[in-house]
Subunit: 299 residues, 2 copies
């Protein structure tokens, strides 16, 4: 491994994972590394964030030199390495970072601030950096951004500012309901049927007040009409995401194109749902967003 | 204990509990007994429903005579003592019962059929007996009936028939979200603030599409605005029940009085919510309903 070209290190440090990239002076990716040492795992042991980071990036370090590490995510939460106080929306996505205390002489860690919103109350840590990456790549971007995940964010971006945003518990609720409610008895833990998913999307988007009865109906459909376990899983996902879309797009301009930031099949699932409902949607790659955002944050 | 006056035994046998009443020939309650030997507990061990029943009611039995037991609930499900095939709505609530196989010569057990609905798919087991009890007590009843619980039922009753019904996953979802989602970190497991609950009710009733973002906001309110844990619990309950009410009353006549069947604080909570939204609501006691229904079912 030739580490001479490493100029800085990018770190996306969330609740569940730590992802690092060794970057060149031209912001090219030289090496990648990933571990399950997210904030939750570290706080549950000894809270030693520095040790977890060094364990992952040690092969990239050079004795006698101090390499900048640009980080974002839950690592800046109150329970994280050091609290990076929230920016307050409306605001540009990246204007503040804080130095993390360190024992090693080989790293200089800066953590980006998250963004809060007082009314309605909401918070993000990490997504603001992806928005900054989107803006760094498309300086004139104005529009509605969706970042699908366990807690999906919908962000209105205007004039290089995060204007407003809302977080939806959709992904977490899908996991709880499909694995732990009475639906678990007749719902698969994997597999996918797109037409069942889209049925759920349309039904929930048109009648968001029916979410809780729609959920129970999946159990009844399995008992009475032999609804399959994969169909049950797909339809449930449709009910939950459709309910979210109904809320997120309630006051949106139907001509607006929605930008999904993400790299996994979930972003594609959202894209399929939005297009099926007649919205324009496109995907901006999540890794591109995070790296461009962390690069932009280095100033 | 004088068991001479016991004419028959009433049994409400659900997923979690078995409740029995020793009844006189005039349908007065002589004795009560209750155990945690619900369907789930029994099927997880040896599936011996008769043994669980006899353990609870043995003191009421007389040698040399066979006492009728009138039962309803999940005991008649496919995984229960014996499957009592569903009636199909629209239908009168009680028209069919099935004899349970028994080794003892001292009991003669009949289990009432539940009710199914094909479109939208839904099922009930036990609630139909409570509806029958309501109708036995109020023969001219027509209206909307709500049976709050883990899976709350809303039933339209016309001309002594269950016309249509819907089941809402509300209670089960409240438990999962408050105890297992990210909200658990800032949500109490007990305690109540009625004004926070009613805030949640009105917010969700007026904007059912906002459920999933409202849920996450409770976490953000705790982080940013010091929302208390009891307030978080109460508001979450309001969001979920308000969402349910929005669905259940979507097409209802606002002049209609809603009859809640129940005996616990949950029925009162629903009653408070409905009145706060401007609906007329009253509570019919759950035990009265089940006993009148089981008595009516004896024919």
């Amino acid at each position: 491994m030739n580490t001479d070209e490493i100029e800085w290190i990018a770190a996306d440090w969330g609740t569940s994972n730590l992802r690092c990239w060794a970057m060149s002076s031209g912001n090219e990716v030289l090496f990648r590394a990933e571990s399950d040492q997210g904030m939750a795992a570290i706080t549950s042991i000894d809270g030693d964030f520095e040790a977890a980071l060094l364990e992952l990036i040690r092969p990239w370090l050079r004795s006698g030199s101090r390499i900048p590490v640009s980080a974002c995510g839950m690592v800046g939460a109150k329970q994280g390495w050091i609290e990076a106080p929230y920016l307050s929306a409306p605001c540009p996505p990246l204007t503040s970072q804080i130095s993390a205390p360190s024992r090693s002489g080989n790293i200089d860690v800066r953590i980006h601030a998250g963004v809060k919103q007082l009314t309605p109350a909401d918070v993000m840590r990490g997504e603001e950096t992806q928005i900054a990456g989107l803006l760094a790549t498309n300086p004139d971007f104005n529009g509605l951004v969706c970042l699908p995940g366990t807690h999906t964010k919908w962000v209105t971006v205007r004039e290089n500012h995060i204007q407003t945003f809302r977080t939806y518990l959709t992904g977490e609720l899908f996991k709880l309901v499909s694995e732990q409610s009475v639906l678990r008895l007749t719902t698969a833990t994997e597999g996918w049927n797109e037409s069942a998913f889209l049925e759920g999307i349309h039904s929930a988007f048109d009648a968001p007040e029916s979410l809780l009865s729609n959920c129970f109906s999946l159990r009844a459909e399995a008992l009475l009409n032999d609804l399959g376990e994969v169909d049950s899983r797909s339809r449930l996902s449709g009910y939950l995401i459709g309910q979210e879309l109904s809320g997120a797009l309630h006051r949106a301009n139907p001509d607006e194109e929605i930008t999904l930031i993400g790299s996994d099949s979930l972003a594609e699932t959202y894209c399929t749902a939005l297009k099926s409902l007649g919205w324009k949607a496109s995907i901006f790659p999540g890794e591109t967003a995070i790296l461009a955002g962390l690069a932009a944050g280095r100033g």
